[in-house]
C-alpha cells in the first residue's frame, strides 16, 4: 500500500489520454458532449476528486487510496461470494457422515 501511495504522488495527468485524444481530433471539442447527456449528480467522488474544493495532489492521492481500499474489499467479498458454495460443501458432507453414523 505504501508503494502504491508513493506512485500516486506523481502528477496525475499530463494531457488527454488515448480515447479522449481521438475524440478530440475528430470533433474538435475538448470534451465530446453527446446530445442525450445524462446528469450524474449522484456519484460520491465524481471525476476522481471530491465534490467540493479544488483538486490538489494530496486530494487525488487520498482519492486513490480510498478507491484502492474500496476495490480490494469489494473484490475480496466478490471472490468469497463466487466461491461460497464450494466452501460449504465439506460441511454438508461431514453432516451427512455424522447422520449416517448416528443412524448406525
Amino acid at each position: 500500500m505504501i508503494i502504491l501511495a508513493a506512485f500516486l504522488w506523481m502528477p496525475m495527468l499530463s494531457g488527454p489520454d488515448g480515447l479522449e485524444r481521438v475524440l478530440f481530433n475528430l470533433t474538435g471539442n475538448e470534451e465530446y458532449e453527446p446530445e442525450n447527456n445524462v446528469n450524474y449528480n449522484g456519484a460520491p467522488l465524481p471525476d476522481y476528486g471530491f465534490p467540493i474544493g479544488e483538486n490538489t495532489y494530496i486530494q487525488s492521492w487520498l482519492v486513490g487510496l480510498i478507491g484502492g481500499i474500496i476495490t480490494a474489499v469489494f473484490m475480496f467479498i466478490l471472490f468469497k461470494i463466487v466461491k461460497l458454495q464450494k466452501l460449504s460443501k465439506p460441511a454438508v458432507s461431514i453432516a451427512n457422515e455424522a447422520e449416517t453414523e448416528s443412524n448406525l
Binding site: L4, M10, G15, E35, Y40
Partner: protein, 228 residues
C-alpha cells in the same frame, strides 16, 4: 475532465446490447472457471492486485504529441492469477470507476468491459503460446521458463492493439459519433500503439519482480490450459 473510458451517448444501443450479452455469457463461463480452479490462498493477493490495477489505471503517463496513456492490466492479472479471474477483477474495477468515480457511462459499461477484457484476450493467448513454446525442460528435469518475460511484453503490447482496434470499430459503427470507421480505427490503433509500450513495460516489470522475489505467485505454464 478525465475520461478514460467510453461514456454514455457515444455508442448506439444496438451496439451496446450485443456487447452486454457477450459480457454476460463470458462472465458466466468465467464464474464457473473461478469456482473450479481458483485456490483460496489466491484470494488476498488477487484482491490487492485489483487495487493496484485500479491505482495504475488512475495514473496517466505522458507519451508523444501531448497525449497520455494509462494502464489496462488485464494481461498482468491473467498472468498472475488466471484470465477468468482477471475478467472479474477488471469488471469490478470498471464498475467501481463508473459508479463512484464517474468514469465511463453506466449503459456503456458493457462496451467498456467487453473492450477491456474480451477484446484483450488475443494478447493473453499470444503470451500463452509464446511461454508454452519457449519453455524447455532440461535433461535433469528442471523447467526453464524462457518465454515468461518475452511473452508478457509481446502479449500485453498486442492486447492493447486488439482492444483499441475493436474500440475503433465500435466508435466507427456508432451513428452518434459522426466520423467513419476509416478514421477512427487508424487513430485509435495509432495512439494506442504508443500507449501499449508503457503497458508492456509495466506488465513486464511487475511480472519480472514477481518472478524474482515471489515466483510462487506465477502459475506454472505446464499446468495452465488456454481457457482457465
Amino acid at each position: 475532465m478525465i475520461i478514460t473510458h467510453i461514456g454514455d451517448g457515444l455508442l448506439n444501443l444496438w451496439i451496446l446490447i450485443p456487447l452486454w450479452i457477450g459480457v454476460f455469457a463470458y462472465g458466466a463461463f468465467c464464474l464457473v472457471k473461478i469456482r473450479r480452479n481458483m485456490k483460496d490462498e489466491q484470494l488476498p493477493i488477487a484482491s490487492v492486485l485489483t487495487a493496484v490495477v485500479f491505482a495504475f489505471q488512475m495514473l496517466n503517463f505522458p507519451i508523444a504529441a501531448g497525449t497520455s496513456g494509462h494502464f489496462l492490466g488485464f494481461v498482468l492479472l491473467a498472468i498472475l492469477i488466471s484470465p477468468s479471474a482477471a475478467f472479474l477483477m477488471i469488471t469490478a474495477v470498471l464498475t467501481i470507476q463508473a459508479f463512484i468515480f464517474l468514469d465511463g457511462g453506466v449503459l456503456a459499461l458493457g462496451a467498456n468491459i467487453f473492450n477491456m477484457t474480451m477484446a484483450v484476450l488475443p494478447g493473453y493467448f499470444l503470451y500463452w503460446v509464446i511461454r508454452k513454446r519457449m519453455g524447455k525442460t532440461t535433461v535433469d528435469g528442471k523447467f526453464q521458463d524462457k518465454g515468461l518475460l518475452i511473452g508478457a511484453f509481446v502479449g500485453s503490447y498486442m492486447s492493447l492493439i486488439s482492444a483499441s482496434f475493436i474500440c475503433g470499430i465500435e466508435i466507427g459503427l456508432s451513428t452518434l459519433f459522426p466520423p467513419p470507421m476509416a478514421l477512427t480505427i487508424p487513430l485509435m490503433v495509432g495512439y494506442h500503439a504508443l500507449i501499449a509500450i508503457g503497458e508492456a513495460m509495466i506488465t513486464t516489470f511487475v511480472v519480472a519482480f514477481f518472478h524474482k522475489w515471489a515466483p510462487e505467485y506465477i502459475p506454472d505454464i505446464r499446468e495452465v490450459p488456454v481457457w482457465s
